[in-house]
Symmetry: C2
Subunit: 514 residues, 2 copies
């Protein structure tokens, strides 16, 4: 078989990533700076991610709603840390009319807004404003809402799915009567993100708390799931924030408690975005293109008839139509199997590679000989580069139908296991000090992205704060390293903090990151 | 029973509308001019509308995708009529940074964009730009895409759902090799909109072609579905446009035909929006609030236990839980029944009115006596104002379970039939000239919105164009009247045009409108 992509992961990982996005027909850049066009195949993946997560969000008692795209500038200024973190690079609407001058369109200066509007970079302030109106008594709590929306952050260096000016996400926002309730909510949604990443996207993650300097602006605690990409970098794939009473105090979100006192609510927020698709690409893609976990593959089983523009084609198509109907009647993962018959007039060999690059989990190529023997020829996308047994020929149709749901489950598991082995096998936990860590990662050269796989370091630390933490951050930054998170559920660490030499209180993940 | 709303339709229709939106907890105004907050109950309705339409869009071969929120100002200028129609009131992004000056946030003047960006009012131009890149040969056609998105039009006078600065919609965009193919697509989607309105929303519509002066800016033909509200006004509930080669020529969307020539593509676009929810309210609402057709009711059957804060409550709740589980196992309209058990500590009488105002189709009130007899007490929302038989008491639980899916279908049909009778019975087709029409509608006083039901007029006309049409429009406008559409499938009209006196070629609908 000919190779599908022009560049391998080892040759140049960033270029390989771009080639997969392009060749798998997931997305493309648009004429609007930093904004992407998500093409049907990429959108199909996102719809399946949305469905899986939306069900979990609703099953845990949250309700969807929708808040305005625009936020008055004065709202952004309400929460001090929030200003620091978000009031920088945003899209700002200042006028509301164009007019023609000498046959050219210009912004009409007379249409200037009294107060500029910011295109939402996140919605804590506009939703908090509604919470203030909605909440009067402890009986109104908890308020548990979520929205699926587009947000804009004016990023300077963009990369499709991973960092774009406009991106799509869900943002959950909740208000509670107590810190305990709000913390429980924060961790509940973190667990749902872990489940989404691992069970649906087959992307194993490290679940933990971000260090102080990496918190969401205005949060008392931020938790994340971090995934290991095939270049060893970490990808923050979802975050859940306990906002304490910070936003409640800034926005006057108060309630009368059961004992009659006025108290500030405790709020949370949590979100995942189209960035997850970037994570799927860099977790499962190979040098032939994308490999999609069956749960998020818009087409799980693709039938390609080997048409020859001859009269016999009609019989072959009828055989394939029947096969598709049979597959449509099957279930996998509790949902109908998504089968597709590719009847386009493209050459069959091109179709094969189109679907393999796109990552369809199972490809069935059906020629006259398959039909004659009531067989199918099957290609398993996950095994494509393993060499033998990639193509099963002469597989009885009946037998394939009986096995198909199980095969999809096996492919889902296989992709997860492969990624899980990579994650577990590439976390160095034996480095004792900063110099050893620096030596492990090597110099941060301009082209370090091409310099091969490094993995992560898990190291004991003393949980420094303030200026001590800032100094550590600066040292790490010079090596292009970052503190990712403090994994949950860890025991008492042994040894001294790799940064401060003080007794360690926990272990933290250090990595290069997207 | 006490009346649920403070104002009736007859007393003041616009105030009644606002009261329903508010009291049924559908949406509220936001601190951002013209933008609404869609609350969970309203959003739940929209999700069901989306699901029903999305399935039909996909079943007809379209694929979903996503295009940028922003459109470069120069794109808007590409299609001349489009500029006329859309380049007026839009949200314009001119800067990308805020900065603090003397402790106050201001727009950073140094962050001015080289080219202003418009927040999409509709996406023909940015999607056409992609079509130009995607389409090379007739083999690439048709291109059939759709997106679910938010759009912004800077409206001066807004009303929740009906006219808001930001609204949510789907916009389909397609490109074809021939005029015939594109026209077929335009009418296919129009038919899907009719089906959505009538079969899903239970909202009967008049399907027809808009007159020349009401076309989408840049279209060769615009078709619409028009619904009759309970104040007699027309609501344009969906449009489908044949754009001819206008956008293709403006944007250079060309393909090589089978015979090797370069030709311009024929494009279409079509959309429906959250405005549909306004249509549902004004079609089905009554003086007690909203009545939801079961197909779009987020909760179809709501169980209210008559709790008394006594130990017996536990048994009653167990009875209700079991009932809910049984209802969850039923199907209606090919989907699982959406049942809800309201366990909130609110007083039962308040709950009754909460759910009736929200329009839940069936309410089950369960007290100790119902439980003792293994019965339910049922309130049918659609019959609430009919007087007798509203409440069925002593209905055996088993019997109700057996009847529930059929009852939901009956309610759906009942709401449609009621609205259909109103539409069919209130179109005057016997008025012979403009004066008779003017007399029928009466003066356009400031408070004509409160002046009672008028209905529509269907009148023969000669299909005038250009300045002749403009003059007619002006006369109609003085009476706050508009030309709605020319109904499809009509025969040869009799008589003379009510406007020009020339022989009529078809009949057109005249009405006051939203």
């Amino acid at each position: 078989m000919k190779r599908a992509l022009s560049v391998t992961r080892e040759e140049n990982f960033p270029e390989w990533y771009q080639a997969v996005v392009d060749q798998a027909d997931l997305a493309e850049t648009s004429p609007v700076r930093g904004c992407m066009i998500i093409k049907p195949w990429g959108w199909g993946v996102w719809e399946l991610v949305q469905q899986a997560l939306d069900k979990r969000i609703k099953d845990t008692g949250h309700e969807n709603c929708y808040f305005p795209l625009f936020i008055p500038m004065s709202f952004i200024a309400q929460e001090a840390s929030h200003v620091e973190g978000f009031a920088k690079e945003m899209a700002i609407v200042t006028h509301h009319r164009l007019k023609a001058v000498d046959g050219k369109l210009v912004v009409d200066p007379s249409s200037e807004l009294e107060e500029p509007l910011v295109v939402r970079p996140t919605s804590e302030t506009i939703i908090g404003d509604a919470f203030r109106r909605w909440i009067a008594s402890y009986r109104d709590l908890p308020v548990l809402v979520n929205q699926w929306a587009n947000v804009v952050r004016w990023e300077m260096r963009t990369r499709l799915f991973l960092r774009t000016a406009e991106f799509l996400w869900q943002e959950g926002h909740t208000a509670h009567a107590s810190k305990d309730d709000a913390l429980e909510e924060t961790l509940k949604m973190l667990e749902i993100y872990r489940e989404l990443a691992e069970d649906v996207l087959a992307m194993p993650v490290m679940v933990g708390e971000k260090p102080e300097n990496e918190r969401f602006p205005g949060a008392d605690a931020t938790y994340s799931i971090e995934a290991m990409m095939q270049d060893g970098k970490a990808l923050q794939a979802g975050t859940s924030h306990y906002l304490g009473q910070n936003f409640a105090k800034a926005q006057n979100i108060r309630f009368q408690s059961a004992t009659g006192e006025l108290e500030y609510a405790h709020t949370t927020s949590w979100g995942v975005s189209t960035r997850l698709i970037g994570g799927v690409i860099m977790t499962h893609g190979d040098d032939d293109g994308l490999r999609l976990p069956p749960r998020i593959a818009p087409k799980q089983i693709v039938i390609v008839p080997m048409l020859r523009e001859k009269p016999e084609d009609a019989d072959l198509l009828a055989y394939c139509e029947k096969l598709k109907t049979e597959l449509d009647g099957l279930s996998a993962f509790g949902l109908p199997v998504r089968a597709h018959l590719d009847k386009k007039p493209t050459r069959s060999a091109n179709k094969r590679w189109d679907w393999l690059r796109r990552g369809a989990p199972i490809l069935l190529e059906i020629g006259p000989r398959d039909m004659a023997g009531d067989n199918v020829t099957m290609i398993r996308r996950d095994k494509l580069r393993d060499g033998d047994k990639v193509i099963s020929t002469g597989l009885a149709r009946e037998q394939f139908l009986a096995q198909a749901p199980g095969l999809l489950a096996e492919i889902q598991k296989n992709l997860f296991d492969e990624a899980k082995a990579r994650l577990d096998g590439n976390i160095r936990a034996d480095l004792k000090d900063f110099d050893a860590i620096a030596a492990f990662f090597g110099a941060a050269s301009e082209d370090d992205e091409k310099s091969g796989f490094k993995g992560w370091v898990r190291a004991p630390w003393s949980r420094p704060t303030g200026s001590e933490l800032e100094a550590i951050e600066a040292r790490l930054k010079a090596l292009k390293l970052t503190l990712r998170n403090v994994p949950m559920g860890q025991g008492q660490p042994s040894g001294a903090c790799v940064f401060t030499g003080k007794p360690a209180v926990e272990e933290i993940i250090i990595a290069r990151a997207y």
